[in-house]
Assembly symmetry: C2
Homo-oligomer: 330 residues x 2
C-alpha cells in the first residue's frame, strides 16, 4: 500500500479510504489511486486489514453431522453466496453434546470470524450472549435460538403434509419413527415433527396409538432398529412416517428382511428428499437445504453490513409421492 501511496502522491490513509470507497475522498484522487493500484496489481493484505480494523473476512459454520446430505448441502449453499461476497468459510464439526458445550464455552471464535452460522443446533441464551459479546454475528439454519435470525422449514407443517398423505390414502394405524440423538438434527425438529404428526392425526379424528410412536437413535441404523421394535409390537402399523429419509431407508431394510412388502403391506414415507430417495423410490416431503444455506448466508451479509436482516418465512416443503406409499390392505 505504501507503494501505491508514494506513486499516487498521497498518504496511506487516503489510499485506504479510496480503495474501500469511503466518503471523504474527492472523486479525482480516488480514481487516480485506484488506477495506480490496478497498475501495481495491488491487493490489501487481509491479515493487516483485519488486525487494524475489526472484520476478519471469515464466517464459521458449526454443525454436527458433516458427512451427511443435510449438513453438507447447507455448507454448499453458504459457500455459494459467501464466497462471491469475499468471505471465506470455515467449518467446525461438533461431535457430541460435550464437545459442543466445550466449544461454545471457550469462545475460540472471537476475532477468528465475523459471524457464525449454526446448523441444526439450538444455542442457549448464554451461548448467544457470549458470541455477541465477542462481536460475532450469529445466524441459525434449521433451528432456533434466542435473539438469533434463522432460516428453517416448518417442521410441524412438513410432518402434517406427510401424515395427511397417508390419511388420504386411507391409513389409520400410522406409526411415527422418530429420532432422539443429538447427532441427528436438533431436538427441535424432532419435537416439531412429532407435533405435526399428532396434529394431523387429531384433525382426522384418529387417536394415536402410543405403541406406534417410537424414538430411536438417528441415521439408517437407528431406523432399522426402530422398525424392528415396531415389528415386534402386538399389531403392525399399516404405514410408517419416519423422521428422515435415512431413517426411512433403514426401516425399509428391516421390512425387507422381515419379508414385509412395501408398500403392499406397509407404506413408508419421510422428510428430506435425499438424492437416494429418488433412487429407492421413496415417497417423501422434500426440503432444499442448499437454499437454506444460501438464505442463511444472506442474513449473515445483512448482519455484517449493518443492514436490517431480511426476515424469511419458513422454507417451503412439498410432498413427493413415489412408490413406497399406497392404500392400506383390505
Amino acid at each position: 500500500m505504501a507503494d501505491v501511496a508514494a506513486r499516487a502522491g498521497v498518504s496511506l490513509g487516503t489510499v485506504s479510504r479510496a480503495l474501500r470507497g469511503l466518503d471523504g475522498v474527492s472523486p479525482g484522487t480516488r480514481d487516480r489511486i485506484r488506477e495506480v493500484a490496478a497498475e501495481l496489481d495491488y491487493v490489501v493484505n487481509p491479515e493487516a486489514a483485519a488486525l487494524a480494523g475489526r472484520s476478519t473476512g471469515r464466517v464459521a459454520v458449526v454443525l454436527h453431522d458433516l458427512p451427511s446430505w443435510y449438513g453438507s448441502s447447507v455448507v454448499l449453499g453458504l459457500e455459494r453466496v459467501l464466497r462471491p461476497a469475499g468471505l471465506d468459510l470455515l467449518v467446525r464439526c461438533v461431535d457430541d453434546p460435550e464437545d459442543r458445550v466445550r466449544f461454545f464455552a471457550s469462545m475460540p471464535l472471537r476475532r477468528k470470524v465475523d459471524a457464525v452460522v449454526v446448523v441444526a443446533i439450538a444455542l442457549t441464551s448464554a451461548e448467544v450472549a457470549k458470541l455477541h459479546d465477542g462481536g460475532v454475528a450469529v445466524v441459525a439454519a434449521g433451528s432456533h435460538s434466542p435473539d438469533v435470525p434463522f432460516v428453517a422449514i416448518d417442521d410441524v407443517l412438513a410432518a402434517q403434509q406427510a401424515v395427511n398423505h397417508l390419511l388420504q390414502l386411507g391409513h389409520r394405524r400410522i406409526a411415527l419413527l422418530n429420532t432422539v440423538a443429538a447427532t441427528d438434527r436438533a431436538w427441535q425438529a424432532q419435537r416439531d415433527r412429532e407435533q405435526g404428526f399428532r396434529l394431523a392425526m387429531e384433525m382426522a379424528g384418529i387417536p394415536v396409538d402410543e405403541e406406534l410412536v417410537v424414538s430411536w437413535s438417528g441415521g439408517s441404523r437407528g431406523g432399522a432398529q426402530g422398525m424392528d421394535r415396531l415389528l415386534s409390537g402386538r399389531r403392525l402399523p399399516s404405514a410408517v412416517f419416519a423422521f428422515s429419509d435415512e431413517v426411512a431407508l433403514g426401516a425399509m431394510r428391516s421390512l425387507r428382511r422381515a419379508g414385509i412388502g412395501v408398500p403392499r403391506q406397509i407404506s413408508v414415507l419421510s422428510i428430506d428428499d435425499h438424492p437416494l430417495a429418488e433412487l429407492t423410490d421413496l415417497t417423501t416431503v422434500a426440503q432444499d437445504p442448499v437454499a437454506l444455506g444460501r438464505a442463511a448466508a444472506e442474513q449473515v451479509l445483512d448482519l455484517l453490513h449493518g443492514r436490517p436482516v431480511r426476515e424469511v418465512g419458513p422454507f417451503p416443503t412439498r410432498l413427493v409421492v413415489r412408490g413406497t406409499t399406497a392404500p392400506p390392505l383390505e
Copy 2:
C-alpha cells in the same frame, strides 16, 4: 497475550515462544505460562500472528463435490486432526473446470492459508509451482499431482478386487459402468479403475466386449442412464461393475424399472461402501475417506512443521460381499 504475560510475570516474547513450544524456554516457565493461558481461555489472534510471522493457522480444502459422501467424509477426517493441532479448516468448492482454473490462476490463497489440501483434483505443475511460490504447502487426497505428497487408495487394485469377485462367481460378460465428468472424482480414478477392470479380465483370459464399456456422467443419474444404454445393447451383461456406489444405485434403479432381477439376472457391484450400500444390500469394495482425510492432515502437519512427510502407501480397500452379486444364470 499481554494479560497472560502480566499474570505469568514474563515478557510477551516469552509467552509467544512458550505457547508455540519453541526452544529456548525453560520447561518450568513454559508450563506456568500455558497454565495461565488456559485459565484465561486465551487464544492467539490469528491475524496478528499472521501479520507478524508468516503462518495463518489455517488450511484450505478444495473439492468439487461437497454434498457427497466422499468429499464430506474427507473433510471430516481433515477436521478431526487439524483442529486438535490448532488449525482451522477453510472450505472452497470449485464447481466446474473453468471455476477451478480461475481459482488456481488468481492465487487468492496466498497469505490466507498455510496449506491447501486438494481432494480428487489433479493439479498441473504450473498450479503447484504457483502455490509453492506463494509459500503455500500442498497435499493431495484421492489424486496425484507433480511434487505433491498424496494419500489415495490403489484404484487399479480396487477395481481388480471387484472384478475378480465377479470372475470367481463365474461371470464372463462383465460390463464396466464408468464415469467421465469432472464432477465425479478426478479423471485419474476413472482411468485407473478402467485399467484395473481390463487387467482383471486379461488375467482371466477373457476378452473385453467394448460394447459393455460405458462411460457416462457421474452420480446416480448418470448411473441410471448408463445402465439404460447397456440395456439397449444387443446382448446383456451378466454383471456390472460400476465406478461408485452412487452410480451402482442409479444402475439398480434402471434395472428395477426394466424388470430385471438383481442379482438373479444381473449382478451389480461397485467401489466405496457408502452408508447406503449396506442399506441397499449392495456388494462393494470398501474404502475409508475419513481415514484418507486424517492421513492427508498428518501430511499437512509434517509439511508445516518442516518435518519429512510420512510416505503412506495406498490406502487399503476390501471387498464387502452383500446381496447384489451371485453366480450368473444357467
